[in-house]
């Protein structure tokens, strides 16, 4: 029994990381039907921002979040208002291509600024601390990560259904044209959605940087898990995204139980099976 319990618990915790990767993607797709190919690179960008702030100011990487999260939010708002809004329209393709270009630009800018050497955020004792819970010992960092993911997703959900901003998001999501008649500035709402998404991305980037080392090119490989989590959970459903991340994490750790070479593939297989049986994901919200 313990034998299966441990991979299960570790898989759920890993799911927290994937859910954080995916939450921003899910949010912007939900509000404005935008597929952001540059999402992975924005995660890596946040990790580098945290590296710079924590090294120059001598801060703990988690303390650096205080600066990195608002910074990325501003980047998101500016990006949306001055670039992506110009590409938004009936067609899904132009914004997709623009974010693809953005991905290439971010990677190369990071390469020029930081070189291709792998970097890591140093979090001291936190990296190895653990709590024994019965037969399973749980790392403190993965636990913090998972709790953060749950809290972030809970907050996003609450914001969506209990605040004026959330109402504006939902209304814009339903009918972009009519909402303008009601006195809502569509461009501003989109900007806020992207700001929020990149604030979450900043969290994901910092946790990724503490967990393992990163270089300018790793963004793409991180993006795939985010996309899979969004699609497994159901497009536009934020709790679904958490579920998607956890399913992906468990699939990987249980897959590795069968054979370590099967670890990454098991995640992809589960994704394919769910896509084949329920093409709109497990808990689709958007019709």
């Amino acid at each position: 029994m313990d034998f299966w319990l441990d991979p299960l618990v570790q898989g759920i915790l890993l799911g927290g990381l994937y859910a954080l990767f995916a939450a921003g993607l899910s949010l912007i797709f939900g509000v404005m039907r935008l597929v952001n190919i540059a999402h992975g690179d924005l995660i890596v960008l946040s990790a580098y921002m945290a590296l710079t702030t924590s090294v120059t100011l001598g801060l703990h990487p988690l303390a650096a979040l205080v600066l990195v999260v608002p910074f990325m939010a501003v980047v998101g708002y500016v990006l949306q208002r001055f670039l992506l809004n110009h590409t938004m329209g009936g067609d899904l393709l132009p914004p997709l291509l623009v974010t693809f270009g953005l991905s290439v630009i971010i990677q190369n800018a990071l390469l020029m600024g930081y070189s291709a050497d792998p970097q890591k955020l140093k979090a001291g004792a936190l990296e190895t601390a653990s709590i024994a819970a019965g037969p399973v010992s749980v790392g403190v960092l993965p636990l913090i990560l998972f709790v953060t993911a749950v809290v972030v997703i809970g907050l996003l959900q609450w914001m969506f259904y209990h605040t004026a901003l959330g109402r504006a998001f939902r209304a814009t999501s339903d009918r972009q044209d009519i909402v303008q008649l009601m006195g809502i500035n569509r461009a501003h709402v989109f900007g806020l959605a992207m700001a929020l998404a990149l604030a979450v991305t900043a969290l994901a980037g910092v946790f990724l940087g503490i967990r393992t080392s990163f270089d300018p090119a790793v963004g793409g490989s991180r993006l795939i898990f985010g996309f899979e989590a969004v699609i497994i959970g159901g497009l536009g459903n934020i709790w679904g995204t958490l579920a998607g991340g956890v399913i992906l994490g468990i699939a990987q750790t249980l897959g590795a139980k069968i054979d370590p070479g099967f670890q990454v593939q098991a995640g992809h297989l589960v994704f394919l099976i769910i896509l084949a049986i329920r093409p709109r994901g497990l808990f689709p919200r958007i019709d």
């Binding site: 991979p7 570790q10 050497d117 990296e127 653990s130 010992s137 790392g139 393992t212 370590p260």
Partner: protein, 424 residues
Amino acid sequence: MKTILTSRRSFMVGATALLAAPAILTRTRAYAATPKLKVGHVSPRTGPLAGFAEADDYILSAISKRFAEGIENNGKRWQVEIISKDSQSNPNRAAEVASELILKEEVDIIVAASTPDTVNPVSDQAEVNQVPCVTTDCPWQPYFFGRGGKPDKGFESTYHFFWGLEDVIAAFLAMWDGAGTGKSVAGLFPNDADGNAWGDPALGLPKPLAAAGYTLTDPGRYQPMSDDFTNQINAFKKAGCEIVTGNMIPPDFGTFWSQAAQQGFKPKIVTIGKALLFPSVIKGLGTRGIGLSSEVWWSPSHPFKSSLTGISSADLAGGYTKETGRPWTQPIGFKHALFEVVANVVSRTQDLEDHPAIVKAIAETDMKTIVGPVNWSKGPVKNVSKTPLVAGQWQKEGDGVALKIVTNKPAPEIPVTGQLQLLG
């Protein structure tokens, strides 16, 4: 009509002479006052492998100074110019710059170092173009078999010096022997060229380990850049492993080592190839980096000196630290030795204008370098010469960490500088 015809002919003659001129002119450089020989050098200056090339500037500036004085060949002084190119840690790029060096710069000898990703594509380009090539800093099996080498036939113009898998195994076993730990060993091998070679049941670690009385727990090849090692850790805990070995990249080792701590797996010895070579990686691990062990190809305490500049191992390493403020790394010695071999070959070649003559001189090399003897007539296979290998452990020294040699059984001429300490 007739005049046009004549002028076309005379044009053809003139153009042919013009085209042929450079070929004739380069052939005549031996008659110049100080003829110049070009050496192409490919190394991963940037990218994930950049750590292997971090001492390039230090080594190359000293070597270039010595080369500018010229090297005696058949009573004539030859100036040697090094043209260095960055492979960006990418095998395709390495092949591209190698062919640029060969075809555009028309180098006479090409050298390369650091991992199969640099050494193999450069050697392949040299072999195709029949340009003499010397490489190092990559275990010989991935170099030789990775390029489709046949032990009896070998290669035409490409030569390599380094150690092999059998040496790593011998060094690791010598280190563990008598450490007083259990004989249950955990194996972590990724699904890449190195991992598959190390984990290979016939040619890798499993067979010699079993012969020496160790039991190996090998859960299977994992995908590099894995996010989770829970299952491996559980398998190791269940088998009561006290020794961990394998071949990993730093990010994977980082993930594994923090998860091992989080999940209460406490081995007594951790000896990993590749990931633990560099002081920067150990520093990144903080206190968790102390006590980890690795293979040692070269160190300041190796009792060898340069045949080119006479500098000792200790001075070469010390000079690097003095110039850059960074701790010494193992590739420094090999990068220097690479150019020692070049200088030695240049001085012995019968006719430096003739590529086959240079290749012949490489094959006949018998010299002592800063990393040990290089002699291609004694190799395990054709085109390969082996250098000595020992094993060491990262131990606390003052405020920092230092790599201490804890076993010299495979190469007794290299002194032991510390004693193996078990991990808490």
